[in-house]
Amino acid sequence: MRRGWQVACVMLMGVFAAALVVSLEYSLFDSLGPGAGFFPFWLSLIGGVLTLAILVQTTRSPEPADADTKILPDRPAALQAGSVLVALTLAAALFEPLGFRLTMLLFIPSLLLVLGVRAPVAVLLCALAGSFGVFHVFFYWLKVPLPIGMLGI
């Protein structure tokens, strides 16, 4: 847990430092009062100081009682979570070129298989309902704009 907090603090400090540098490009004050950089500058500064304080506090404090709490998942769970993210990223990449229906027709069965569903009929029904069925409901009934791909589907 402590290592997790230390890593998070370092990453946050990076974010706040970058924001601080960028905010200096905007005016802190102008003729009308506080400028576009005023709020981000102070937020970045305060955020950086807070994160530094957490880092020091975490590093100097004794290991908490729940130090042995498992943060990283075991290998199968990590693989499944990673596969979910890869599938989501691919779906995002294909979303507009292939359109909603074809993308989901690929995304849903792959995800179900990755998550351990081995019933072909259930996978097929879910894929059809989640792609063509959901598209019909959202696009035609609820008038929610969803992409139609280059194949016209």
Partner: protein, 497 residues
Amino acid sequence: MDTFQHLMAGLAAAMSLQNLTFALIGCILGTLIGVLPGLGPAAGTAILIPLTFQLDPTGALIMLSAIYYGAMYGGTITSVLINVPGEAASVVTCFDGHQMAKQGRGGTALGIAAIGSFIGGIVATIALIVVAPPLARFALSFGPPEFFALMLVGLCLVTGLAGRSLLAGLAMAVLGLLIAMVGIDPVRGAPRFTFGIPSLYDGVGFIPVVMGLFGVAEILLTVERPYREVIKTNLASLLPSREEWRRCVGAITRGTGIGFFLGLIPGVGAIIPTFVAYIVEKRISKTPERFGQGAIEGVAAPETANNAYANAAMIPLLTLGIPSSPTIAVLMGAFIVNGLTPGPFLFKERPDLVWAVIASFLLGNILLLILNLPLVGLWARLLRLPYQYVCVGTLLFCVIGAYSLQQNVFDIGVMIVCGIIGYGMRKIDLPIAPLVLGLILGPFLEKSLRTSLEMSAGDFSIFLTRPLCLGLLVISAVVLIASALNLAPPEVRKSDT
């Protein structure tokens, strides 16, 4: 028009077939969200926002409000039947509710929870009708410095009570505020932190961020959680015995009062009223040893307080524009998506909408009671739905929700990144609520701060020379000092999601 006339007009609007249908759909979907493992009310409300895109604002907000309090009740079912709280506020219900289910009294536990929730919700809504108009009128006298101080109080309360570390809560709130700075500067109109990416000109979308932090992160966590068994219990007998009724009357009355008054305070969160209601019942009981062993008051009091809180928490949102919890922040996001800014001006400019939504709370509570008592068995069966299908369904809705708001794939990317961040935050117990509230309050906070400083030509003493503003700033400081001294009970500080 006085309050009564507004309410009658609101009831007439809420009782139109269309709005009644939206409320019914919202209650069903909300309960479903609460019941399905791995979906909390914040994530559930967020992923269902796309369903309301094409509705008129009144219908959309009636449906989303119904989803919100439906989800608050749905969490009870998982607490009783699988000892897993569907949302943070249902943690306390696990103590006695699950014990009752183990003793074969699961139906009675769910029955009293539904009845208590109904009474708490109705009484809190009536109190809302009485309290909200004068509060909104009072808030109309606020200037930018008072609004700035008020938002600061809300943010400090949420930050002070979220998670195990005050510093971490503050850092997350600051991060949320900083993310809210991305986009066009609301005062000068200049782009900030956009790095030449056109998709960032409108800022980082609130909906994709919330869907990522709650929806995608929850799915990633669900994938590695062990399977929880649904226990077999008697769901046929829902009504308590005469002796149980006698015990519950006082518990429900006290739970209503506790939930309502704590719901008025921005930032208290749903978990505190339920704990307070439980502790009060245990303290005043002549047989406190029964608590934790299946005492029906241990279910009635927190469940009543939970629903009374859920309805009362709408008061700070509707009258002051301050969200009390991440779920209420999502609702505020839904208002903004519909082109409305919650707060005192909404009462003045759109009384038709505000009163229709308030009236729908009354109808929604009745619908929930009608739905939940006979459908308890169905909800219990849904708990057995394999998580894989829930994961796929949730992700499908997340993708649709993130994309369809601006028809931009970039937002799906934002959602995925926020999902990874939310997963990491949950793993190391970093509080998410302050980040979400910072993100939604950021533009308002900045605008009121800068307008205040423009009013005073850059002189910060404007915040100290106005009595109400000074009072609110003192409250913020007291909240932070109290949090730093760890005055809040540890069980209350533990989790915000």
